[in-house]
């Protein structure tokens, strides 16, 4: 618990709920009769409504991106490193919106919500949700908040994919896109890891075909395995070596008896705590959304064509030791943007932490994000000049 909240924190924040009572058609053809999105905002929307920034979350993220819910919270929101007064996403200048995506398990309508048609929990009946659906639902939230156009849409990993989709689907509504440690679509290896995670969950005897809540059980072991596997892909070989090496937590290496390495106990801890707080059906849904994401597909597999109608300026960032979405995947995005004649800057930040680096205070990463978003804030404060650089 922080003794007092740090000066560069947005402080105590209160989640808000937006309810949508009209049907929401999904890409898969299904429709939700009504739904709710839980979200948080930081900073103040200016009178002209030009300084709003949307922060999109990754696989296991949510609406609580910055600040604290209570003074005795152990940890702040998941991207507190980047969001706050004087931080790269400067809440003194920008109005930040972060929501929990549709299908999530932190307060937005998802598999653990009540299905009004049946009177019981959706569970496995919750329809397939795609990145496009998320973007469209976020657009509805923007309408509700009086935001016609985002100064920037920002996200890491799966969040970066939403930012990309925003620029494609709503070119008039996005000034800048920031994609961090992301990819234009998943590789076979990425999908393979996702499928192993899904199989681990589905094979858990507590899963009951996704109806575990009806049975009063949870597929804890499966979700734990899924998270452990995911966690390894978020870190680099060097990063794990640096953090744990071959240190032993218990047992005796000389006698080779009951040995537990530090890295094992770390993974067990991560997996176990995740399995207590995350909904298994949401995990399945989010990994599917990742697998299906492929904006070039509708454009004859031509990413340049997909970006041709976008109007935003872009910042693309990758990390040198990220092997989940390696730097080359970001360079695919950059190459297509240059070919589509979009404004784009790209940096490959040298950092040992692997994919997870996007959540961490890597100095060069924060410096470049800060430099870019200062300009975004400048533009937002002088809307007449917006687009002059394009």
């Amino acid at each position: 618990m922080p003794a007092a909240l740090p000066d560069d924190s947005v402080g105590i924040v209160v989640p808000q709920l937006a309810r949508f009572d009209d049907p929401f058609e999904l890409v898969c053809g299904a429709s939700l009769p009504s739904h709710e999105l839980v979200y948080e905002t930081y900073g103040t929307l200016n009178e002209a409504g030009t300084n709003a920034v949307l922060v999109c979350h990754a696989l296991s993220g949510h609406h609580h991106a910055a600040g604290y819910h209570a003074p005795d919270d152990r940890k702040p929101g998941w991207w507190d490193v980047c969001i706050g007064p004087g931080k790269p996403i400067d809440t003194n200048r920008l109005f930040v919106v972060a929501c929990n995506n549709l299908g999530g398990c932190h307060g937005s309508t998802g598999p653990a919500s009540m299905n009004p048609a049946t009177g019981r929990v959706y569970g496995p009946d919750f329809p397939v949700v795609t990145v496009r659906d998320w973007v469209r639902s976020q657009a509805r939230l923007a309408d509700r908040l009086g935001i016609r156009r985002w100064a920037a849409v920002i996200g890491g990993s799966l969040g970066g994919m939403q930012a990309m989709q925003w620029a494609i689907d709503f070119p008039e509504r996005v000034g800048h896109v920031v994609t961090i440690a992301s990819a234009p679509r998943l590789s076979a290896q990425n999908i393979a890891f996702n499928e192993i995670a899904r199989q681990a969950i589905q094979a858990d005897p507590g899963f009951h075909g996704g109806r575990y809540l009806d049975h009063g059980t949870l597929p804890r072991e499966g979700l734990m395995l899924a998270r452990m596997l995911g966690h390894v892909t978020y870190q680099s070989d060097d990063g794990l070596r640096e953090k744990f090496g071959r240190a032993v937590r218990s047992g005796n290496l000389d006698m080779a008896r009951d040995v537990q390495f530090q890295v094992e106990s770390y993974l067990h801890y991560q997996g176990r705590s995740f399995s207590e707080r995350f909904d298994a059906n949401t995990y399945l849904l989010m990994t599917r959304a990742l697998d299906y994401f492929d904006p070039a597909r509708e454009f004859g597999d031509d990413l340049t064509a997909a970006f041709a109608t976008t109007r935003a300026s872009w910042l693309v960032l990758s990390f040198s030791t990220d092997w989940r979405f390696a730097s080359d995947r970001s360079r695919e995005i950059v190459r297509a943007l240059i070919r589509a004649r979009r404004n784009v800057s790209y940096a490959d930040v040298d950092a040992p932490q692997g994919h997870d680096a996007f959540l961490l205070p890597v100095p060069r990463y924060l410096a470049i994000l800060d430099a870019y978003l200062s300009r975004v804030a400048d533009e937002a404060e002088a809307p007449a000049r917006t687009g002059a650089a394009a």
Binding site: R331, R335, S345, A347, S374, R375
Partner: protein
């Protein structure tokens, strides 16, 4: 925010005068983005810079210049043929691994190129080597031989021979001193008295 520079370093000013309005420009080794920033503001160009120095990349981003972190030796394959009107490379030629291939790539990506580099044939370099017998160190070449990024130093005559070999037409040559001023001696005997040259290049077939 950093406004576009009102004034430009003298050599960049000479280059800027060679750039058409609205041109699409790729700047290899763009540094802090001074040239592109000026060209965006005053010539309406659409530009991208290539740079590998982290601080310079952040400086470019801070002044609204498109910058791509990419090595010149390996990164040029990413750019399509004729994707740009002009490729610029200032005082970087001597630091690339394969100057001939880079030259070819520049004139594949655009019909025109501008290249500047320091002259290793300058009389001071010659005198230094002749009298002391050690590798010349000067204002424009400040590094010791063992830790220099300048792995392909050449003279104006060497470069012009490379252009002939690679079928590159030299459309313009401005020879200047260390303060980027033209001098009478430099114009008369460039390979002996010129410190830096700014070359305008074009594919021979198009020249």
């Amino acid at each position: 925010m950093n406004p576009p520079p009102r004034t430009l370093r003298a050599d960049l000013r000479l280059i800027a005068d060679m750039v058409r309005e609205q041109a699409r420009v790729l700047d290899l080794g763009c540094g802090d983005g001074a040239l592109l920033s000026w060209l965006q503001a005053h010539r309406g160009v659409i530009g991208y810079g290539l740079e590998i120095d982290p601080e310079k990349i952040t400086a470019c981003v801070g002044r609204g210049v498109n910058v791509i972190e990419r090595d010149i030796d390996t990164g040029l394959a990413d750019f399509e043929t004729d994707a740009f009107d002009l490729v610029v490379m200032t005082e970087t030629l001597q630091a690339v691994r394969n100057p001939g291939e880079v030259l070819d790539a520049m004139l594949r990506i655009a019909p025109d190129a501008i290249v500047t580099f320091p002259n290793f044939g300058h009389w001071r370099c010659r005198l230094h080597l002749a009298t002391r017998g050690t590798m010349p160190v000067a204002r424009h070449l400040p590094h010791a031989w063992y830790d220099t990024p300048n792995i392909h130093l050449c003279t104006f005559a060497d470069f012009e021979a490379l252009c002939r070999e690679r079928r590159v037409a030299i459309t313009q040559r401005i020879v200047v001193d260390a303060a980027y001023r033209p001098t009478r001696l430099g114009d008369a005997v460039p390979n002996l008295f010129g410190t830096i040259a700014i070359y305008g290049l074009r594919r021979e077939a198009d020249a």
